[in-house]
């Protein structure tokens, strides 16, 4: 029973963690992309389509990543090259993504999907309890964990990560130091798009292997909120994603078990618990301020 619950929690949390990890890098570079939901749904439809046409879910996964990244390029062009307002453009990207994916996916509705099968590690997967949880998962789960570790290492241990954080904190100074702000931001935006696309691919290939319009159902917005409440720290994003996933699944079990607590209250719990826990983790105002990208959402025009 516990094993079954944990497996469900992992599936529910993975897309949030992946999308939030990508958005974290984008925001650390000082760009606020509110279009996560739109990029996610574009990833989902591209992934489903490619997997359906070729029959290989892995091809779908790649298509999802590419779909999300290409779609984010539109946001990059509008906000970085044309210096449009980031908030408005991000919202527009979400609306466009929802509509466009519906058009692309019109012929996919009602078709049974292709499921991305788990990778079974020999021997390790036979360990009771731990085996099925950690060594019999699909690729997206391993990618989500690798992403969190990778993003943490990249941002805080690598030279390029330092540059990205410098741009996010003060794009003027970074520019004066000779860092190409616009190009780096383009790459950060595309990384965020690729991750959102991968998260979408997880939805249409693993979570519920099918295509229905609007199937991301607000998960992009949850990922966005996670980044802020995790005060732009990768490990906290992971924690937040899993708390949200866990409480969401446990409240369904509580209902099925019949504990007699109103379901509206239980439905609210994931949001409330995640926010409270992350606020407690990030209670130190000073470190939170240090971690907040100071130039988040501000436009930048290189003056020479």
């Amino acid at each position: 029973m516990l094993e079954a619950i944990l497996l469900t929690i992992i599936t529910a949390s993975t897309p949030l963690v992946i999308a939030a990890a990508g958005e974290l890098v984008t925001e650390r570079a000082g760009v606020l992309n509110l279009g996560v939901e739109g990029m996610m749904i574009m990833g989902a439809v591209c992934a489903f389509g490619a997997a359906h046409v070729t029959g290989y879910p892995v091809v779908g996964l790649v298509a999802g990543i590419l779909g999300g990244a290409l779609f984010s390029l539109l946001f990059g062009f509008l906000t970085l090259t044309l210096v449009a307002n980031q908030v408005a453009t991000g919202l527009a990207l979400t609306l466009l993504g929802l509509g466009l994916s519906g058009q692309i996916g019109e012929s996919f509705v009602g078709i049974p999907g292709v499921k991305l099968q788990p990778i079974v590690f020999p021997l390790l997967s036979d360990i009771p309890f731990v085996g099925p949880l950690l060594f019999r998962q699909d690729l997206t789960f391993y990618l989500s964990i690798a992403l969190i570790i990778g993003v943490h290492w990249f941002l805080f241990k690598s030279r390029t990560g330092l540059k990205i954080r410098a741009i996010g904190d003060s794009h003027g100074s970074a520019h004066a130091l000779g860092i190409n702000v616009i190009r780096t931001r383009y790459l950060a935006v595309m990384f965020g798009g690729a991750c959102a696309g991968l998260a979408g691919a997880q939805l249409s290939l693993v979570y519920t292997p099918q295509w229905v319009e609007n199937m991301s159902a607000g998960r992009g917005w949850i990922a966005l909120a996670l980044v802020v409440f995790a005060s732009w720290r990768p490990a906290r994003v992971l924690a937040g994603g899993y708390i949200f996933g866990a409480v969401g699944i446990l409240q369904l079990h509580a209902q099925a078990f019949g504990i007699g607590v109103p379901s509206q209250f239980l439905s609210m719990l994931p949001y409330a618990v995640t926010i409270v826990v992350l606020i407690i983790i990030s209670h130190n105002r000073r470190t939170t301020l240090i971690n907040t990208p100071a130039c988040l959402g501000k436009p930048f025009v290189p003056d020479r």
Binding site: M1, A4, I5, T8, A12, G99, G102, G105, E106, V109, G110, I111, P112, L203, Y207, T208, P209, Q210, V212, E213, N214, M215, A217, G218, R219, G248, I249, L252, H253, Q255, A256, F257, G258, G260, V261, P262, S263, Q264, S267
Partner: protein, 357 residues
Amino acid sequence: MKKLIIALAATAATLGGFSGGAQAADKTKVCFVYVGTRTDGGWTQAQDLGRQQVDKTFGDKVETPYLESVPEGPDAERAIERMARSGCALIFTTSFGFMDATVKVAEKFPKVKFEHATGFKSGPNLATYNSRFYEGRYILGQIAAKMSKKGVAGYIASFPIPEVVMGINAFELGAKSVNPNFKLKVVWANTWFDPGKEADAAKALIDQGVDILTQHTDTTAPMQVAAERGIYAFGQASDMIAAGPKTQLTAIVDTWGNYYVKRTKALLDGTWKSEQIWDGLKDGILTMAPYTNMPDDVKAMAEETEAKIKSGELHPFTGPINKQDGTPWLKKGEKADDGTLLGMNFYVEGVDDKLPK
């Protein structure tokens, strides 16, 4: 570049405008306003199949423009008014949330006829129509009680409104008519449409020991989970057999087409009247998908019940029925009246859940 602009303009026109094709003066316009898209796989798709049936039945005599994805709220009024101005003779507004907007536009355009789905406000030129989904759910309950080995079914519910509560009760009553000890576990997803959450709810119910699933939410995700876990399930709104060829026992299929054809015919004959219509299985406004994956005796029972409901011999809400806490609700032989059903806010005995208020 010029070509691109023309293409974009054309796309915008199809996306935002009427998609009914060229207008002809001698054609009667029967129009539809949808809350979702035609390919949502559930509610609106079923509505659009109804529209297509009108198209096919009347051929050249009628055209059927429609508007998709009209949000409930102030925008709805604008959209419905636009339909009324464009020369529609009859307008179907197909979501509960269009109620007040439809009432307002109907008052402004007394010569145009309106029909609003699932609402309760009407007028001289505004009819309402609804479907007795509970009749189908009673049959599902009977099949569940026969097919379940553990005697427990799981019910994925959306929001605690009378329509949904009525469905849960009808299912439980059907099940209890076969197995008096049958239990029903209910999980409220608090959404009509979220494949992920619906799948999670299905998994939670199965992990808690139910071996039959039924749903009052819109996507095929629960059916898919049931197929994966090797248990049986029922489809909702559309025939979901493609998502679970060995899983679906039957489905309640919304077949609005028969109703739309009937009303369009009345319009053309000049016999259209404003009515409050609540049709059921016998009128063909809902249909049972083929009874599959079950032994012949269960199928025979389901068909017999369906026939009895159609003939009026059986009303699912016939006493003796107790409320959840054991207090009597209906005496032996007493039938629930429509008003009570449409405002239903309590469970019947046997439902293993606390009703959210």
